[in-house]
């Protein structure tokens, strides 16, 4: 690679950059220097402007005012393509890996070595091997894109960037969808990139990730820079309070003890389903049970089996409403509701009005003779939206006009309106900002206090430890451990999830 790591200095600089969207200032006279070969993190709540900043650097968005300098030269990118020619590549949150193509083909997509119009496969393999070796990646080039883990898809994107001679890579929430060990692997990759002289701009919600990984941190709030500081001078707490503009007490609401005589509201007996083997568990009224485990350990499969979204091959699931049959509809009738893993794919009717999304699971209650009682519906929706803390401009607005956090709350509103006795929440805070996370924690906690049983599935061990009364850890489709009281530690969860206590201890909190 042409750029020896020794040459330091400023790689990219923004001078008084302003960007507005429909009257809202996403960035307000932001000035920033990004050092060559550094890992520079941009943190802030959703809407603070960090993603916009990343997009301006990578040419996805043009600034309204202000100047972007690359290697000291003013540039005005009109498209990401122009930015690529200057060695700047954005890796978006949504990864773009073609399932039918191999890893190597994906990496050189659009840039394949050609001979008389045909792809030269041998040259492709050789170039891939060279590139992977330079980056220090272990990822077989002949694997299909289909079925690649998210972490490996990230690697494909990174290699694709490097294959285009990227010297500055903007990564938007790279670890958002990654379980801990994969995130670790990705971090190593990023460190190696920086060590090799590539500048990495890291847009991230994960403050711990930022604290571990970044050289410098820029904290944004409401489109302005609060401060830029060396990462060693920051902690999660200092960053969080700077982002929010106030010091937070505890991140998690106080846990209310479950009364000893609380009824069992969900019981699974020896449940087996694809990816789930012989699982038994109980959730009592007012109890939050955490379900931890690596991605692929069967957590989501279990959630879907419990909610009858996936056919059970053996065992029974009962709620206080009786033994469950008849698919998700039957489960809902028996008082078991689910917040699915992916709100876009399994949760929301994106183009439909907010009101329709919220009332969907309760329509029979809100209608007479098959006709929807609109007044009744509007009132019920307004009440439940207030309960979950979403203020909407109009119930008739499409649900995709809401922010990610509010979309998630709208899903909670749908579920609450249906009046369940048990809630299975699969990654309820994925992809939402810190403020919305806190609101969802409060909501789960207060729902439990009102007597709802909650099964909380999360990749975020902190989240589970902060909220749950009891933790179940899954491994390979089975419950590997049940942790209560003082045994509930991040080390214990990881140990059980991996089945190797040493790893857990080594990474203990």
């Amino acid at each position: 690679m042409p750029q020896p790591p020794a040459i330091r200095g400023t790689h990219a600089e923004l001078v008084e950059v302003t960007k507005s969207f429909g009257g809202v200032r996403a960035l307000d006279e932001v000035s920033l220097k990004i050092a060559r070969g550094a890992i520079h993190a941009l943190v802030g709540e959703n809407g603070a402007g960090k993603s916009t900043l990343g997009k301006i650097i990578s040419g996805v968005l043009p600034p309204d005012r202000g100047q972007l300098l690359i290697d000291g030269e003013p540039v005005a990118f009109r498209s990401p393509r122009e930015a690529i020619t200057r060695g700047i590549v954005l890796i978006a949150q949504e990864l773009a890996v073609v399932p039918a193509l191999s890893v190597a083909e994906n990496v050189f997509l659009g840039d394949e070595p050609r001979q008389a119009g045909f792809v030269n496969r041998r040259a492709l393999r050789r170039r891939y091997a060279e590139l992977a070796a330079t980056a220090g990646f272990e990822l077989a080039g002949d694997l299909r894109g289909r079925g690649l883990r998210t972490a490996d898809q990230q690697k494909v994107e990174i290699l694709r960037a490097l294959g285009r001679n990227a010297r500055l890579i903007v990564m938007d929430e790279p670890a958002a969808a990654l379980p801990r060990p994969d995130a670790e692997r990705l971090h190593q990759v990023i460190r190696r990139l920086a060590a090799g002289g590539t500048t990495v701009v890291l847009v991230s919600h994960f403050l711990r990730e930022v604290a571990e990984l970044a050289d410098e941190v820029t904290i944004l709030r409401d489109g302005r820079i609060v401060r830029t500081a060396p990462a060693v001078d920051e902690t999660e707490d200092t960053m969080l309070s700077a982002m929010l503009g106030r010091s937070l007490g505890t991140t998690f609401p106080a846990r209310r003890p479950v009364p000893a005589q609380a009824k069992i509201v969900l019981a699974a007996r020896s449940v087996s389903a694809p990816g789930v083997h012989d699982v038994s568990l109980e959730v009592r009224a007012g109890e939050i049970v955490g379900l931890a485990g690596l991605v692929g350990s069967g957590r989501t499969e279990l959630a879907r089996a419990l909610c009858q979204a996936q056919r059970i091959t053996a065992g029974t699931v009962t709620t206080s409403g009786g033994k469950l049959t008849g698919g998700p509809r039957g489960a809902l009738r028996a008082g078991l509701a689910m917040i699915p893993e992916s709100r876009k794919e399994q949760g929301l009717l994106l183009g439909r009005p907010i009101a329709e999304n919220v009332s969907l699971a309760s329509l029979s209650r809100l209608s007479e003779l098959g006709l929807v009682r609109r007044g009744k519906e509007r009132q019920a929706v307004a009440t439940v939206l207030g309960q979950v803390g979403v203020r909407v401009p109009a119930q008739a607005a499409p649900v995709n006009t809401l922010s990610g956090g509010n979309q998630q709350k709208a899903l909670f509103a749908r579920v609450l309106l249906a009046g369940p006795r048990v809630l299975v929440a699969d990654e309820p805070t994925r992809g939402v900002d810190v403020g919305a996370k806190r609101a969802i924690y409060e909501l789960l906690s207060s729902l439990a206090a009102e007597g709802l049983g909650v099964l909380l599935i999360s990749s975020d061990a902190e989240e589970i430890l902060g909220l749950a009364h009891r933790v179940l850890v899954m491994r390979a489709g089975r419950i590997a451990a049940e942790l209560t009281g003082d045994a509930m530690t991040e080390a214990a969860i990881l140990g059980a999830a991996f089945g190797t206590p040493e790893i857990g201890r080594g990474r203990g909190a």
Binding site: P328, L348, L349, T401
Partner: protein, 335 residues
Amino acid sequence: MDQQDITQAPAPASRGARRPRPSPALVGNLRRAGILYPFIILFIVLSLWSGPFFTKVNLLDILDQQASTLIIAAAGTLVLVAGGIDLSVGAIYALAGVTAAHLALFSSPAVAIIAGIAVGLGVGLVNGVITTVFRINALIATLAMSFVVSGLASLVTGGNLVIDYSRPGFADLARTSFLSVNTSTWTMLAVVVALAIVLARTTAGRYIYASGSNSEAARLSGVRVQFIRTMTFVISGGAAALGGVIDASRVLSAQASNGETTLTFTVLAGIVVGGTSILGGEGAMWRTVVGVLFIALIGNGFDLLGLNPLYEQIALGGILLLAVGADAWSRLHQS
């Protein structure tokens, strides 16, 4: 007529939106109004240009001619919104027409009419079951069924034209005049209004939108997606049959080659030109009515103005592409 789109009309949500949305007002308004403005303009232009256009006789004639198309398209809207597609309506139209015409020869008109519609409902049920239970793509399933059903229609007629001139009672279904409007038009109005209410105001309508918008989300919310989709196919089959029976009654004859692909595609074009999405989850009944009538006006205009009918098809194809393009474009800029 429809509340879905009226309720969507205000878009103050963009006030709080933080993400860029290229001229959301323009995109939104164009998409919402869709075919309505071109329809009104065409209507005014024809009224000014052609003397005979804006007369009661001509306008009622258009409605009467479009009665069966509108009935079938109204039901087809439910299918499309629910995320399906029905390419067998032309064949069902023919089968129901010849069945009713054939039975009318030796039984009461009532029996003939009911039998014709029952045949359509039955084929619709088969369509629904093979697309939901056996999970065969609706496009292919209903295409295959259209061949089967066409074949059945030929079996019924033996390849001949069935003529009911000897049974004038059969004509009462379509030709009875009430308040100087034919029963075929009244029937069409009743069906279109009923289905519009189903789609816009009932729980079933909500489930239809939900099934087409995001079937997995709908299922997890307790919607019986398979059942809902099957019912839309049954309604579509029934409506296609009703259209076939009405037209057979109107002309007191039917043959197996009636309708077929031309009708299927005219219906589909009307729905899509109106602005109902071919991808499901979006659409409204008034759109279909306007879309079908828009296409009818083009035909009528070519007739009245004495233009070369060859250009009619070219114009129609261009308009269809524009409509689908506008839908794709607005979806692109929505997300």
